[in-house]
């Protein structure tokens, strides 16, 4: 794709952001929503048994799979359900045009408009989780239900934070913080336009990528989690796809069929 195409797209995208947009306020809305819900959950959790605490690792792994699946099958493939096609359009034809592995970093807080999910996404994800939380709360105990919702909400905020770290300029924290440095290398490789539909679909912790073999690394789970910037274990001969199409003024793919659809 190259820097030139990415730079051209950035210019056009920035021109479409309203003047009063502020990235810090955007981030505040996302984290204020998440932390408020987390507070309500915390106020309802009491006297947790060790069996109830098992909800935390279980739901954490479940959300890791959900992140992987949503990214792989809805963000990088066009759904046949019209209402879900917007996810693909915003991700594939906006976010991946804006950031490529050659130009991964935002320049200022206004670029967060395309880095952080719009604040209503956290609302939708929490709404999606509530029926499941209610179900497990009813089947098991109320603590399990509140813990379920707490973990989902926490993971969404962790996702936003790590994703923001993946697209910020190099600094001491992101280079040396374990897990964050792993996520940066992992996500940068994912932004290679020829590999983005096939590899590194986890953004936070590459657990499901390791489990399903969709990682670009040839390592065990711990090696995956604490790989950092190490490129010695990168697989060779990874599958590549056609270059993604450029979006037109309506966000529709021009020139070519969607490579993610297997066409």
């Amino acid at each position: 794709m190259g820097r030139e195409r990415s730079a051209k797209f950035r210019e056009a995208y920035r021109a479409r952001i309203v003047g009063w947009y502020n990235g810090y306020f955007h981030a505040f809305l996302v984290f204020a929503t998440g932390l408020s819900v987390l507070y309500v959950c915390a106020r309802h959790i009491a006297n947790v048994t060790w069996l109830e605490w098992l909800t935390v690792p279980f739901v954490f792994l479940l959300t890791n799979w959900f992140e992987w699946d949503l990214h792989k099958n809805f963000m990088h493939k066009q759904s046949s359900i019209k209402a879900l096609q917007i996810i693909h359009r915003y991700h594939m034809l906006n976010h991946h045009q804006y950031f490529t592995d050659e130009d991964m970093y935002f320049h200022d807080h206004r670029d967060w408009r395309i880095t952080i999910f719009p604040p209503y996404v956290i609302t939708i994800l929490i709404l999606l989780a509530i029926p499941f939380a209610a179900l497990v709360g009813w089947v098991f105990t109320p603590n399990v239900g509140w813990l379920f919702l707490s973990v989902v909400t926490s993971v969404i905020m962790i996702y936003e934070f790590i994703h923001l770290c993946c697209h910020c300029e190099e600094n001491w924290f992101v280079r040396y913080c374990p897990l964050i440095n792993t996520a940066r290398r992992h996500h940068t490789a994912h932004h290679n336009p020829r590999m983005m539909t096939n590899v590194n679909m986890n953004v936070t912790f590459p657990i499901t990528d390791w489990l399903f073999g969709t990682s670009d690394l040839n390592r065990g789970l711990l090696g995956h989690l604490f790989n950092g910037y190490d490129s010695r274990h990168v697989k060779t001969g990874l599958p590549v796809t056609a270059m993604p199409p450029e979006p037109d003024a309506h966000g529709q793919a021009e020139h070519a069929a969607d490579p993610a659809s297997g066409g």
């Binding site: 995208y13 479409r16 809305l29 408020s36 309802h44 609302t123 709404l127 509530i130 209610a134 239900g145």
Partner: protein, 55 residues
């Protein structure tokens, strides 16, 4: 987000908040109901005011 989607999610959030605050069997403690209503109102406000961008 389209207008129809905004209406849909607004209705869902409003119904959920109303249910959690008015239903006698609600799992939300009485002293937390106000916070649930504030969160729901904030979510609805964000849905309608957050600016569009992109293609």
């Amino acid at each position: 987000m389209s207008w129809a989607m905004k209406v849909f999610f607004t209705a869902i959030i409003a119904l959920l908040a109303a249910g959690l605050s008015l239903w006698s069997g609600s799992p939300v403690h009485a002293d937390q109901v106000w916070l649930v209503i504030v969160i729901a109102a904030g979510m609805i406000a964000v849905i309608w005011t957050f600016p569009r961008a992109g293609f």
